[in-house]
Each structure stands twice: as C-alpha cells, then as structure tokens.
Symmetry: C2
Subunit: 129 residues, 2 copies
DNA sequence: TTGATCGGCGTACGGGTGTACGTCATTATT
DNA sequence: AATAATGACGTACACCCGTACGCCGATCAA
C-alpha cells in the first residue's frame, strides 16, 4: 500500500500531537509542544505542511484556519517506525528491545503487574488457536 | 560528557554491525549488510568514516587496511536512541512501547516465558531495596 | 479607523544523509 | 609483465530536515 516517504524524528513528534488531539490547528500543536524547546510557530507550521504533503495528515480550511487531522492510523506509523528501529538496531528481534526497556528504563511496580497480566492474557489467547 | 552528534538510522545500522563484530573492516561490514539492499562498498566506507568523525568508532590502520572498533558503548547509544524515540513517540512513557512490542510484534511463547522470569526477577530485586 | 495580532503561504538556507564516483597506490592473479 | 582486484581517501550532489523570515490579507482591540 501507501509507500509514503518516511518521517523524521521531528515530524513524528508533531504527528503524535495531532493524533492525541485527534484534530488540531497549528497553534494547538504549537502550544502542546515541549515549551523548553522554544520552537517557533512557523516551524510547527512547516512540519504540518510537510506531513500533509507526505500523506500522513489531511488538512481542511475552516474559516481562515487550517485544521489538520490524521490520514494514516497512528498504529500503522508506530508499527513501521518500531519495525525499522528493531531491524536496524537489533537485527529484527524484538525481545532485546523489550528487555532493554524493562531493565534500563523506569518501569514502575504497577506497570510490571500490568505487563504480567498482558502476557498471561496473550498466552491464554494463543492456547486457544 | 560526550555530547556526540546524533546518529542517523543508517549510521546506527552500520554501528550495530561493528558492535557485533567487535572490530571490523569496511569489507566485513559490507558483507554483513542486508544483501537485498544492494548498498555499495563505498557507501559503507563513508558511513564508517562519518561514525569515526562523530566519535562513535575509532579506526586504526593495520597494514593498508583500516580497522574500526567501538569507541562508545553500544548500551549507551541504544539507551539514547530509545529514550529519544520514547519521548517523541510516546511522550516519555515506556510502557506503551513495551505493550506495542508484545502485542504487535511476533513474540514467541518462549520469549514470553523469558519475559515473565525477567519481570519476576526485577520485582524480587525491588522488594529488597 | 487604525494599529496589533493571527494565520496561511511561499521561500530560504545551512547542515545532515544516502549514495556513490574517481584517483591512486598496493597487492593478487594469469 | 600485464591486468585485475582491493582499499583508502577526497569529492560530489541531490534531497531531506530543522528552523525560520517575510508578505499579505483577515480579524480583533482601542
């Protein structure tokens, strides 16, 4: 399907904000942007424009304001991004990455519990195949 | 500490090969490169040169062949890369990424078992803090 | 009404990135 | 000896990316 051009890190970040908001103007995205980074309004505008050009967002005019919304499912983009990362950084194996995340990142006790439940559920599902 | 310039995806991929081999020539890296991508020897050479310039690899001459080896620990680079990804794509939360990996990627039954052990061990360690 | 603000749109520009060619010297092959 | 392969190194070049300025028209505030 859609062989869109890939997204850069910055573009990805902007896209995520739009996904979160479901639909957003330049200003809204700009406001949600990590303030300490002090990025210009016009910069965000350029990001959004490019995301539309690349086919990841669609934009429509409402009055004299442009509203951007997702054209590609976040899940899809995330999957592609992670796949790429896993391929390049771990030769295609997901487990090392999971291991790294669990060991090296702050995963809270509750999260660990959640995780175990998740795994149990998955194992259950598989037994029923 | 070392505020090295960041690595691109391609550079990361090449670096990983060197980490795996511990130490490698251009040709060795080129051979390990996913063949279907058909990338040129000279391209790999450029990658390695840049990785050295950026401070991620060190190179020494052995005879008339250059040998590259890591100058920065893989673990460090991986951590930085993942942190960046998690920040931009999941607003800094690691769990959603783990969830995605477990649900959306092929994780085998054995892997799931391994994972559970890992979690149990971690929980054990934490109780003893 | 007139200045300030908002927002779209076109444009820019330096540095990064992917990809590679060409040159020159050193081996290896025939 | 003549030729092919190897490898370092310099150079190139188009496209991408981060970052933004400037102009213009619409709208808001005084």
């Amino acid at each position: 399907m859609g062989e869109r051009p890939g997204l850069s890190k910055g573009e990805l970040e902007v896209a995520r904000i739009v996904w979160d908001l479901k639909s957003a103007t330049v200003r809204q995205v700009h406001e949600r942007f990590p303030a300490e980074r002090g990025v210009d309004f016009a910069t965000v505008q350029t990001y959004l424009r490019r995301l539309e050009t690349k086919g990841y967002l669609k934009g429509r005019m409402e009055g004299r304001t442009r509203i951007y919304s997702p054209r590609v499912q976040p899940r899809t983009v995330i999957r592609e991004t992670i796949n790429d990362l896993v391929d390049r950084l771990f030769g295609g194996e997901a487990l090392p990455l999971v291991r790294h995340l669990i060991e090296d990142r702050g995963i809270s006790a509750e999260d660990l519990t959640t995780l175990k439940e998740l795994i149990d559920r998955l194992e259950g599902e598989r037994r029923n195949d």
